[in-house]
Symmetry: C2
Subunit: 308 residues, 2 copies
Amino acid sequence: MNNKLLVVGTMAYDSIESPFGKTGKILGGCATYIGLAASQFKTSCTLVSVVGDDFKKSYMDLLKSKGIDLSGVELISGEKTFFWKGKYHNDLNSRTTLDTQLNVLTKFKPKVPDNFKNASIVLLGNLDPNLQGDVLSQMNNPKLVIMDTMNFWIDSYRDKLDEVISKVDVFSLNDEEARQITRTHSLVESAQKLHAMGPSYVIIKKGEHGALLFNGEKIFCAPALPLEEVFDPTGAGDSFIGGFAGYLSQCGRITFEEMKTATIMGSALASFTVQKFGTESLENITPERFNQRIQAFKSLTKFEIELT
Amino acid sequence: MNNKLLVVGTMAYDSIESPFGKTGKILGGCATYIGLAASQFKTSCTLVSVVGDDFKKSYMDLLKSKGIDLSGVELISGEKTFFWKGKYHNDLNSRTTLDTQLNVLTKFKPKVPDNFKNASIVLLGNLDPNLQGDVLSQMNNPKLVIMDTMNFWIDSYRDKLDEVISKVDVFSLNDEEARQITRTHSLVESAQKLHAMGPSYVIIKKGEHGALLFNGEKIFCAPALPLEEVFDPTGAGDSFIGGFAGYLSQCGRITFEEMKTATIMGSALASFTVQKFGTESLENITPERFNQRIQAFKSLTKFEIELT
């Protein structure tokens, strides 16, 4: 397999309020977070996305400086970039959307760059399942297809969503969404039902409680790093799946053991993201800080028991 | 240190409804669950508790058959045993108390048997903090004092509770209770505040999301075993802390590393408890099933990352 990673998703302006403050319009969008997280690894990552002509050149430069290919990002003149405004409540586990302006997103016709049609890994970021399916149909037999989604698409695009789910290898969603899709409270049972819909691997994200990776009977439980302060949860799930895919792209082996490691890598990147507003923390990870973080995850979970 | 483990707590009749069915009056009480869990280990465990003359001899015989000393269990003639009736809701994370009859509990004057006054480990089960403090004052310089509590005592007995907390080494409570006592959402910050109240070790139980063990800057994250079916959560927290204390009593070393193992042992025992109504599952653990369960916890969390 090659180390090409094809990502489809949004690039956006976000405006965020949390109990810790508020931002003006800042860089956002799932493809942005995914790209920044994946770029921590030795991968050749391209983003397929769309922006308006109000999208700052400095943001494009930032992503390029991280080695991310942007030849699949369409700029539509005379249109504005997708905008999302949200407010997190005191517990930071729930949020209210204050404003959504789809803008260019309504005209998005994703086009996979020719030299990425053979990418070994495709990551379908949280997006309209029609667009996810469109991108997948442009690919030439990828080795691994990863898909993320959220409650909005489950509510309103269920048939199309199910069709795309049936074609992916790794399906990532949060616990409430898993329960919503499968109408099952037990996450173990829910994962079994999700397997039956197609994906061999199911990742159920539980926010501050970590994530569960399922592959049939096999289960891996990744912790979240207990943090003194969570500043802004925006992009945590995208950073998680971006780190997950970036690691697998670098590693080049698709096994349950490697996916366990990938889950920890994703959790580590998500833990950085939530420590600052927007992408700020993710932009500034040094190899040293990354290694320290991985070490923290090891200490957090390692125990020795000799069975008698 | 010796391997004596002194436990104070309730012995009770419970009547339980869950989405999976309902029971008549069955064996319950925190001391019961703690004793049964601790008896999985090589410990000399005694229960300090109280029952009425309606308490079945077969229940006493069951506990004795597990090697549990009952010389500190007072039988009050003409009185009935403490009774609790509760109903779990569909998600099994919340419950409603339908009936509480304190009965003999109102006359409980705990008396530590002379030959256990030198026990190295004292476990103050979930109980009126006045009784917890009373038992502690009868002990002769224990090596480790462990305390469990619940929301009721936080609401109504806060001053006495704080006094007892200040004298214990390990304080165990659930996430909502930790937030309630410390008025802090972040569990990391909450644990720091609980440390400041006295205990060097703080365990925050998170139900299906596992448990966090804090010792100053050091944190350990124990998973809960993802189960297809949780039948009855009653006694899960008691089984957890009973297994925790039983393991430490057997092991004889009070270190953070051993407490990590103890936390996994407690989690394993709690995972058995919830699989059947009441104490049924806990009564029937074979060494083989116990080893398999510990192996499952290892598989669930083990990952390999070579840092570059």
